[in-house]
C-alpha cells in the first residue's frame, strides 16, 4: 500500500486524490440524501405544475402549513428569549448545580420525540398531573395549538441556548465592565453592548429552532390530536394524506417543507459573514 500511494498521489503534477475523494463523497451522498430529496420533486411535478399547485391550495393543506409556521414561530420566540436568559445566567454565575442545569437543558435533544409528547400528555392531559387540576375550570391544554407550541418548545429547547451560550462564554467581561464604568446601567449595557454582540448567535439560534420546530412530528402527533383543519400541522398532514393514499397531496406539502429547510440552511450558511460581523 505504502509503495503504491506515493505513486498515486501525483500523476504528472495532477493530484488524483482530489477528484477521487470529491467524487466518492457525492456518490455516497447520492442514495442517502440526494435521491430521496430528488424523488419528492420528481414525483410532485410529474403530473404537471397545476396539479401540484391545486394539491397545495387545498384548504386543509394551507391550514396545516399556516399552523406549522405559527406554532413554530411562537416556540422560536420563547426559546430564543429563554436561551438568551439561560445562557446569561449559566455563563455569568457559578453556583452549585450549574452543570446539572446545563445537562438538563440539553437533554431534550436526546429524548425520542414520542417520549416528549407522551411526557407532555402525562402532565397536561385531562388526567395528567396538572391537567387534572385545570380541566374542571374548562381549561384544556392538550389537543390545541397551544399543545403543539408546548411540544415544539420542548423538543427545540436546547438549540438556541446551545448556539448563544458559547458566544457568551467567550465574550470579554471587560466590554461590560467598560460600559459600567462609563456610566451605563445593567440594562443599558445589555441592550447596547451585550445584545449587539449576540446578534449572529441569536439569528442562527432562531433559524435552527424554527427549522427544527416546523419539521416536528413525533411529539406533535401525540399532543395535537391530529384534527384536520384544527390541530393538524404540515408534517401531520403529510402523514395523514399518505395513509389515505393521497400521495400527490402529501407530496406537495413535502416539497414546500423541503424547500423551506433548504432556504433556512442556505441563509445560515451564506449569511455566516454577516451574522458574525465584528
Amino acid at each position: 500500500m505504502s509503495s503504491i500511494a506515493p505513486a498515486m498521489r501525483h500523476v504528472r503534477g495532477f493530484d488524483v486524490v482530489r477528484p477521487l475523494s470529491i467524487g466518492m463523497l457525492i456518490f455516497m451522498m447520492l442514495p442517502l440524501v440526494f435521491l430521496p430529496l430528488a424523488s419528492i420533486f420528481i414525483f410532485g411535478t410529474s403530473n404537471g405544475l397545476d396539479k401540484f399547485w391545486s394539491a397545495l391550495m387545498q384548504p386543509e393543506a394551507v391550514f396545516a402549513l399556516k399552523l406549522s409556521m405559527a406554532t413554530s414561530f411562537w416556540a422560536t420566540v420563547f426559546n430564543v428569549i429563554f436561551g438568551l436568559f439561560a445562557a446569561y445566567v449559566l455563563s455569568r454565575y457559578n453556583f452549585w448545580g450549574r452543570n446539572a442545569l446545563i445537562v438538563t437543558i440539553s437533554l431534550p435533544t436526546a429524548i425520542p420525540t414520542a417520549v416528549a409528547g407522551f411526557a407532555l400528555l402525562l402532565l397536561w392531559g385531562p388526567y395528567g398531573t396538572l391537567g387534572r387540576l385545570l380541566s374542571p375550570h374548562g381549561v384544556q391544554v392538550m389537543f390545541t395549538a397551544g399543545a403543539i407550541i408546548l411540544a415544539n418548545i420542548f423538543v427545540t429547547f436546547p438549540l438556541a441556548f446551545g448556539v448563544i451560550k458559547p458566544v457568551f462564554d467567550t465574550m470579554s467581561r471587560s466590554l461590560e465592565e467598560a460600559s459600567a464604568t462609563i456610566g451605563a446601567t445593567r440594562w443599558q449595557t445589555f441592550w447596547h453592548v451585550t445584545l449587539p454582540s449576540l446578534r449572529g448567535a441569536i439569528v442562527s439560534g432562531a433559524l435552527l429552532t424554527f427549522a427544527r420546530a416546523v419539521g416536528e412530528f413525533g411529539s406533535t402527533i401525540l399532543v395535537s390530536g391530529n384534527l384536520a383543519g384544527r390541530t393538524q400541522t404540515a408534517p401531520l398532514y403529510i402523514f395523514a394524506k399518505f395513509n389515505e393514499g393521497q400521495i400527490e397531496a402529501a407530496n406537495a406539502i413535502a416539497i414546500v417543507l423541503a424547500l423551506f429547510s433548504f432556504l433556512i440552511f442556505s441563509v445560515l450558511f451564506f449569511a455566516r459573514d454577516w451574522l458574525d460581523v465584528d
Partner: protein, 414 residues
C-alpha cells in the same frame, strides 16, 4: 525622608514635588486592603493623586496593582479602606455612579459601534441632546486626531488608534480620574515608546488626573509625575521618578528600578565602612547609630573606574577590582567587576566581607558598572585588567537588624 547636606557632588536639581502632592487631592485611596477568600492581596494601601497629576503604580505581576485600579473603578470592593474622589467618599458607589474613566488593557471598545458611537456612548446613555453629543464627539475626535476614522469600526483600527478612541470615550463624560490598566502591554516596543509620549502630552493638555499601572520601570519613570512602587500588596515607596530611582527607600525598590549594586556596610562616626573602604558620609543620627549594619546601594552609572589611585574630587575609593566581563550594550558599555579587598587598606577589626547582591538576589562578589560611550572609547579597558573602583553617589539603607522606626532609606551625600 531625611535629607543630608548637599555637598561636594553636583547633581541634577531635584524636582520640587516631594512625596506629598499639592492639595487638594483629586483622588485618594485610604487604607485599602483586599482579600480574595483567605488570601490577602492588598494591605493598607494609601495614596493621593493631585489635579492634573499622573501617578504610576509600578509593580511586578501579582503585586496587586490591577486590584487597586479595579477598586478605584468600583469593579471590586475593598475589604477595608476608602476611595475618595474629589472629596467625596465613593467606596459604596457602584462603578457606573463614580464617573471614573478606565482604559482597559484590551481597550474594550464596543465592537459593533463605530468610533463616533463609541466616543459618544457615555453621553448617549446620559441622555444628552443629539447636537451636544455631536459637538463633543467632534472635539474629541480632533483632540485624538482620528477625524478621518470616525465611521470605522474598532476592528479596522490599529492598536494605537484603538487606544486613542478608548481615551476619547472616557474623556467625553469628563471623568473624575483616568485609570490606565497596563495600556501599552499589547503593543510593540516602538509603538509603546511613541504612544506613551503622546498620551503624556495629551493628559497634560486635558489636565485630568491619571493613574497608570505598569510593570515596566522605564515606562513608569517616563510617564509618572510620581511613581508608587508596589511589592506583594503594599507600597514600598512613593516619590518622583528622580527620588525613587536615585534614592530608593528599600532594597526592593532599588533592585526593581533597574540594575543596582548592593553592599554591606557599617556606620561609623563620620563615615561608612564598606569592607576596607571608608567613605565619608553625613548620616541622619536619628535613623542611624554608630555600629549599625546597613546596606549601600548604587547604580552601575554611579561607579567610576580608574587606572590609578588618582581620583577626581567627589569620587570615593571603594576598592580595587578585576574586570571579569565587558559587554557592549549600544549606548554604553557594561562591565562586571570582582571586588578585591586590597591588603594595604585593612585597618581595623571589621570583617572585610564584601557581600554584594545582584537584582536576582544571588550573593556574588561582583558589581556591575556602566561607562558611557565617550569614556569607553577614550579609556579602553580590557578583561582581566585591575582598576580602582570609586563611587560618585550611593544611598544607605537600613538592614532588618538595624533598629529602625521608620522604614525609610536615608540618602547619604558623599
Amino acid at each position: 525622608m531625611v535629607k543630608a547636606k548637599e555637598t561636594l557632588i553636583p547633581r541634577h536639581e531635584e524636582p520640587a514635588t516631594a512625596s506629598q502632592p499639592p492639595h487638594p487631592a483629586a483622588a485618594s485611596v485610604v487604607g485599602i486592603s483586599k482579600r480574595f477568600g483567605k488570601v490577602g492581596v492588598l494591605e493598607n494601601i494609601s495614596f493621593d493623586v493631585a489635579e492634573g497629576e499622573v501617578l504610576v503604580l509600578l509593580g511586578a505581576s501579582g503585586s496587586g496593582k490591577t486590584t487597586i485600579l479595579r477598586i478605584i473603578a468600583g469593579l471590586e470592593m475593598p475589604y477595608t479602606g476608602k476611595v475618595i474622589l474629589h472629596g467625596k467618599d465613593v467606596t459604596e458607589l457602584p462603578a457606573r455612579e463614580r464617573g471614573v474613566g478606565v482604559i482597559f488593557q484590551s481597550y474594550a471598545l464596543f465592537p459593533k459601534m463605530t468610533v463616533e458611537k463609541n466616543i459618544g456612548y457615555g453621553l448617549r446613555i446620559r441622555k444628552h441632546k443629539r447636537k451636544e453629543i455631536k459637538k463633543t464627539v467632534n472635539e474629541l475626535l480632533s483632540l485624538v486626531q482620528l477625524e478621518e476614522h470616525r465611521k470605522k469600526y474598532p476592528s479596522q483600527l490599529s492598536g494605537g488608534q484603538q487606544q486613542r478612541v478608548a481615551i476619547a470615550r472616557t474623556l467625553a463624560y469628563k471623568p473624575e480620574v483616568l485609570l490606565f490598566d497596563e495600556p501599552f502591554g499589547a503593543l510593540d516596543t516602538q509603538t509603546r515608546v511613541h504612544l506613551r509620549r503622546e498620551i503624556r502630552a495629551l493628559l497634560k493638555k486635558v489636565n485630568v488626573p491619571a493613574i497608570f499601572i505598569t510593570h515596566d520601570q522605564e515606562e513608569a519613570l517616563e510617564l509618572g509625575d510620581r511613581v508608587a512602587v508596589l511589592n506583594v500588596g503594599h507600597v514600598e515607596q512613593i516619590g518622583t521618578p528622580f527620588e525613587i530611582y536615585n534614592h530608593p527607600a528599600t532594597e526592593y525598590v532599588a533592585t526593581f528600578l533597574g540594575a543596582a549594586n548592593i553592599l554591606d556596610a557599617v556606620v561609623r562616626k563620620d563615615f561608612i565602612e564598606v569592607g576596607p573602604a571608608k567613605i565619608p558620609a553625613t548620616l541622619d543620627r536619628e535613623s542611624f547609630r554608630e555600629g549599625d549594619c546597613v546596606k549601600i546601594v548604587f547604580r552601575p552609572e554611579d561607579v567610576s573606574l580608574n587606572r590609578g589611585d588618582f581620583l577626581r574630587p567627589g569620587h570615593h575609593r571603594l576598592s580595587s577590582a578585576l574586570i571579569e566581563e565587558i559587554t557592549f550594550v549600544g549606548a554604553y558599555e557594561r562591565l562586571r567587576l570582582r571586588l578585591e579587598a586590597d591588603e594595604e587598606c585593612k585597618t581595623d577589626d571589621t570583617s572585610f566581607l564584601l557581600t554584594t547582591e545582584t537584582p536576582d538576589r544571588k550573593p556574588t562578589k561582583s558589581i556591575i558598572a556602566t561607562r558611557p560611550k565617550p569614556e569607553a572609547s577614550t579609556t579602553r579597558l580590557q578583561v582581566g585588567e585591575r582598576v580602582v573602583v570609586a563611587l560618585t553617589s550611593f544611598t544607605v539603607l537600613p538592614t532588618k537588624s538595624t533598629n529602625m522606626t521608620n522604614h525609610q532609606g536615608t540618602k547619604a551625600q558623599i
